[in-house]
Symmetry: D3
């Protein structure tokens, strides 16, 4: 059902979201804490012959280890520096097994499939923990440390993501000027945030049905988890509503995305019960770089799926 | 929840299923009607560089066109005749887009991804219609033409599948003695049936959480579609119960599988609400060839997923 | 819940639906293909003494056999030519058993209860198959052959319905100038379409909570099957959206109904989750003949049920 | 799903249900309180020409008015005393409108369609109130007055039903030796109870998927209302469990039915979530008269529906 | 989800509800029928040492016995006349066990916890029956006797509530000028109605997420029981819609509340699926006395719960 | 529905659970890490006059701060050392607000209401964080750190609970020989574990519908969260099944409880979908001290609720 704003209204929906005064400082302080040790790469046998794979451990926020797979087209297929794709994951997923996500490597890209810390027990598995605890939180990740931007879970996640981007850019076989960030749902939100936090490092953005956009509206209209984690948290902590939204404003893709400059291809689904289309448009409409968006009129959160993957392959090839 | 037989009982569950007297004749008559025109292959650009893809139209039951993708490892990666995998699809799915299913080609196999006629409007799309109609049937495919083995939908599907197997075996680059049939759910049921109907053409079987097994128990214990299509049909046509099960006995993987001889790797999930584990064991226990089964104790119909894919890659490589 | 347009808006809702240029030609071509053999009537014993019943096989689209029951008031109750009612069925239902639908015969009408081809495995059973297959389609009937008006399932259904109407009009005991078409849900949509396609043959229309109206809005707001079949089809075949709606425009009751001229009594339910009230009003507001509509404020798809049956008995008696 | 006992176990299931010592006295006292004023019959126009209908008000328990429809075959179709059918209703239903339930009259029976006091706001409507209140009860009827057999709701309902039976037997056009009691679900339970409480007045019983049988097992295995009303009552009133079941033992069809002597045709559905098949067999197995039972293997609470209606028409005709 | 009116619209929502001409007479006649015997108080041991408890039986409408608990702070904690709180219960609940509801006594109030007649088989139990029956009604209490204000269930409930208020006011230890009425959901609706019917006896009102407000809108937008009882009743009795709403207008908190004069603290929850926030605002906006309302933005029907209890403790202490 | 073992089987159900060889060492090592700073108590005004309340911060595992409320009967009601109750919370709850949980103080006990670290965003709120992170885990608490007993979440929780017990025993007004541990669901599991880990400090145990018992069976039969968190974790991490259950064996109440010696009153609910009754009996049957169990035959996870509270008040008073 088309339960959210009519498309024509969504296309011009621009909520007046507050921008924290110290947003720049906050992120400068945060990004200063990524990295440390150089990444460790270990060749693995994924069972595939067309793709060469490495188990990567890189240093994220506060140097915490973040795991990823690096996939390259088989050596005989490579010639010259490779363009790259850093792929972030949907909520509760992880980098999976070595043979699971090889689309971009199969298409000729150096392909880094990055874990999301603490996640990876859902549709795909992860290997990266989050050593940081939190105050009382709703089961899930969305409300961990929500009492303060400094302790909020996604501070660490966004920082890890920037670190991963730089790891791929620094690889010998990769052309650092042609590295793309990509993902769907949570991975879409992270991709765009990375493009905003490290605009000079990102060549393009592939952002599908993004999560983490326009939180207050999302809480008001979303019909499924994970946004309902936030609703349940606020239902319990009735005295923390303003404080929570204040924290979230540092991480809202509809706030951060204004700072991005790379060309971007977005997608949105009009029957998306998980990431309401109006919240996606709130972020898309504020996005700072050149942009296009595909609207999938009859899809739920799966969005364009394989159809959109074709669209992305063409769009990237033509960039 | 473990709602079906305890594992120790399931492991020895062998229902006394009736074997139709004319089973051999029926299938001989049926398979005589496949084929006709030679397959047509058209090179396509899937956007991938590691895999070479062809759009295939082959002649199935009564010569009806059946569509498939043929994926080969990129030419530079090939040397000598290729082993092959024919992959059949889950219920309501199809061959998808050209870049969607390339695992086995990425692992070095000639890989034929075959449509199921009339299906392909679900999780993946198809391009193959079924020109044959039916009597009154429940929405879905499971009860179409169920009044008689001659008109039953899966007669045409199994025949198409045998035709597809022979097409891959006949390809110039393929070693016909090393062609495997594979699939999950409906695709698992079809794979095993093909191995039973064309035993000398099949080198191995990969059969995951198969559908189309031990229909009467399936109707009694399954909790989701598509077996519930059968339940609803029988609930409506209260006077057709015996007739329907009589028809189904010609297509039951737990009946046909006795005729198979190829080595097989199966999987079953103990919390599978769609294909109850007891029905999978009914078929596994009667399977005619050498066999192993992986039991996924806490999985629903997704079964072993990527974990089992690793297991299959190893098992096939070691064969 | 009143989830659709407020009643005052629905009462004036007239969506600007496209009328295919060749609509008249298409239906002329189609109706030219009905009939052939004369109907075959076989007296049956339904167990009832007040009604005389016949099993009817009539020639529908391309002469395909369509089954129906003909019920007449017991001979001793008849005098002079009888007015008639042709009753079409709701989705997934059929003519049922001989004693199931005898209201109109009990009220003194010659009553033809007509199957819908391929359907009849739901709340009532049918005896009529559909020998025509289709391309890939969603389980169900709504998307079969949706790629082209010529292959679309409801082309055959509407044509069958016109054929049935003429069969009843041609019966010796029936007054051909006093034959009514009637039905609820799918049966309502068929009734009105028949009144549009054969305006001079229809004396009146009883159209309850009709299906098959204003498809694009229906897809956007309906909350249950069968409209969700269409949504799922479009969700899978993301590149076929316009083509599908183009096909549907030949069958939309809100498009066709403008051509009807007979007086009509409609009903609509404001909490109808299956056939959204706005889509019913879209069709009602465009209906070409004299018309009345009963609004059932707190009913779901059951609509007026027995209360509305009383209303219809009176309305028809007074016509 | 077949969630209850396997059929072979259900067929011999005979729970050791306690019979209250004063069961006979209780019902003798109760039946002494029915009746009073003679029934009032008012001719109504149902809109049907094959059936002649009367609005009946008869005196039930304590003389409370109970409403019913009396339907007769049209006068011209009648010759000699008519056999009769007294039909009791399913839970939350009522006699409906005058044209709704005319099957048995159409089949040649004098047909009394009796309200259930206080009910009639569901699938069919009623016109009979229950002037008696109750102690705290779960919303619904099943737990009203459950603290004592004297105040229990079904005491009044069973008594009303016996009164209705005698009204039809006393009608001028009816043969009192050929009156049948019939009903499904609650109506099945009432029918059998009437046959037990007035064995010499009942010629036969038609009892479909009966409610009100083997309450303790019903509470343990039923998955839907109305038995869940009892579960919720006992969940709240944890100290009233034994008292409630003690009251129910006076009304349990599996207890009372032993006293019945008339031939009976029963039906049961193996997937009945509302009236678990084991509880139906508990009552059937203890039934005192000659008996047959139809088992519907794949049906939920709808049971045999129209198919079973045909079976009943034949069975009654052959009696 | 915020499914109802936006907050800014709800804050000014004032539906034009009809006020029955004889509203005053009706309630004067009604209240004249309460009382009779003096209340009977029996000391009980609740197991608590801080609170002194009494089992109360008081005379409600037509003198029917209504049960309550009276809790007082332990004697050693008392000095001077006590302020009082009369607490009414949510739907299907009751006064519970003696130790269950002692908040207000623990806070120093004489605390009367009053049953709702016939209810008390849900989340808390009751001990008060309703000796009055009704015409056909939906399972539940909301539609009992809905055909006429004189027979409607809530006539007796509101009258009982006024009687209970006067019992507490008449207690020796209580200051009759400082007695508050309080409750949530149904208890909120009753509290406000009591404040309207006995304005000079009520010192303040605590009204949380009230039920029984603006019935027509409630029926149109509520998504759960008990308002859906009304919807189902109207869905069945299609010809009784106006009559039912006419009856309800005598009991609508949005109609009666205009007559109240005491200061009131209300609460509303924006995600309340049971008592839609717009209906709460309809009543709040028409309330006759000084008033404040707390809005819980992310709560369903649980509303402010313990947080709001703190707010109430402070608000009452400051009055 | 009674979906689990029949009561008679459950009463003797004793699964052969493995006891880790180093169980004693593990817990000795663990308990050595609790405490540090003395507890800090701050008087708060809860709004109640019968109870005196303190906000407590005590040192739990590794000295992490754990928050609790200490409630005492008002000073004027106290004489001599008080018996004590330490109350642990259900999953996702917390100590709540100061006025929320005062039953035991109202009954004359010194009452410590203890937070569960990291929890407290559900039905009641908490104020205690968990500063320790984890590897990839399912949203929720049950699988955090499940890869090793040393990192498992409940290691810290059980240790905190022992620390809280000693804090109450060390309070000036409390008789350390008369301190009881109590709780329902998770709180029941913690209570019994504390009685096992500190047997000489516990005077009695009140354990209701406990969680954390017989994990492998719980995972196989539970139908709701939180046990389904474990199922989902194992469904994702198919290769970690044995490792996870190995970790859980250090925390299983059915393993630890053998070490307890205090008298205990348990309760179990036969329709408990959250904590299956068989798993409760597995723990009860292995419990080491004198014991009684109340069986609530028709309750889900709410169990005996207020009825059982009365039972506990009496049982404790009689101890």
């Amino acid at each position: 059902m088309h339960y959210d704003l009519p498309l024509e209204e969504a296309r011009v929906y621009r909520p007046p979201l507050a921008v924290p005064e110290d947003l720049g400082d906050f992120w400068a302080r945060t990004l200063a804490r990524i990295g440390g040790a150089p990444p460790m790469l270990t060749r693995v046998d994924s069972g595939l012959v067309t793709v060469e794979s490495y188990d990567v451990a890189l240093a994220g926020f506060d140097g915490h280890p973040v795991r990823a797979w690096l996939h390259l087209p088989a050596e005989v297929l490579r010639s010259g520096p490779l363009p790259g794709v850093v792929q972030f994951q949907g909520y509760n997923g992880g980098r999976g097994l070595a043979h699971e996500h090889v689309l971009w490597a199969s298409a000729g890209y150096a392909h880094l499939v990055v874990d999301t810390r603490g996640q990876g027990s859902g549709w795909t598995t992860g290997a990266t923990g989050d050593p940081v605890g939190s105050g009382p939180a709703q089961p899930g990740f969305l409300t961990r440390g929500i009492g303060d931007p400094d302790t909020y879970y996604y501070r660490r996640v966004y920082a890890d993501a920037v670190a991963a981007l730089e790891v791929l850019r620094g690889h010998d076989l990769v052309d650092p000027s042609r590295v793309v960030v990509a993902g769907g749902s949570q991975g879409g939100g992270i991709s765009t945030s990375v493009a905003a936090l490290a605009p000079s490092s990102v060549a393009a953005v592939l952002c599908d049905v993004p999560f983490l956009c326009d939180f207050r509206r999302a809480a008001a209209v979303a019909q499924t988890d994970p946004y309902l984690e936030l609703v349940r948290y606020l239902a319990a902590h009735r005295d923390q509503v303003d404080r929570a939204f204040s924290t979230l404003s540092y991480f809202d893709v509809a706030v951060l995305g204004r700072l991005a400059t790379a060309p971007a291809l977005w997608s949105v689904a009009q029957m998306d019960l998980t990431c309401p289309p109006s919240t996606v448009f709130a972020a898309y409409n504020s996005y700072g770089g050149p942009k296009e968006i595909e609207v999938y009129e009859f899809n739920d959160h799966e969005g364009g799926a394989a159809y959109h993957r074709s669209r992305q392959l063409e769009w990237l090839a033509a960039l």
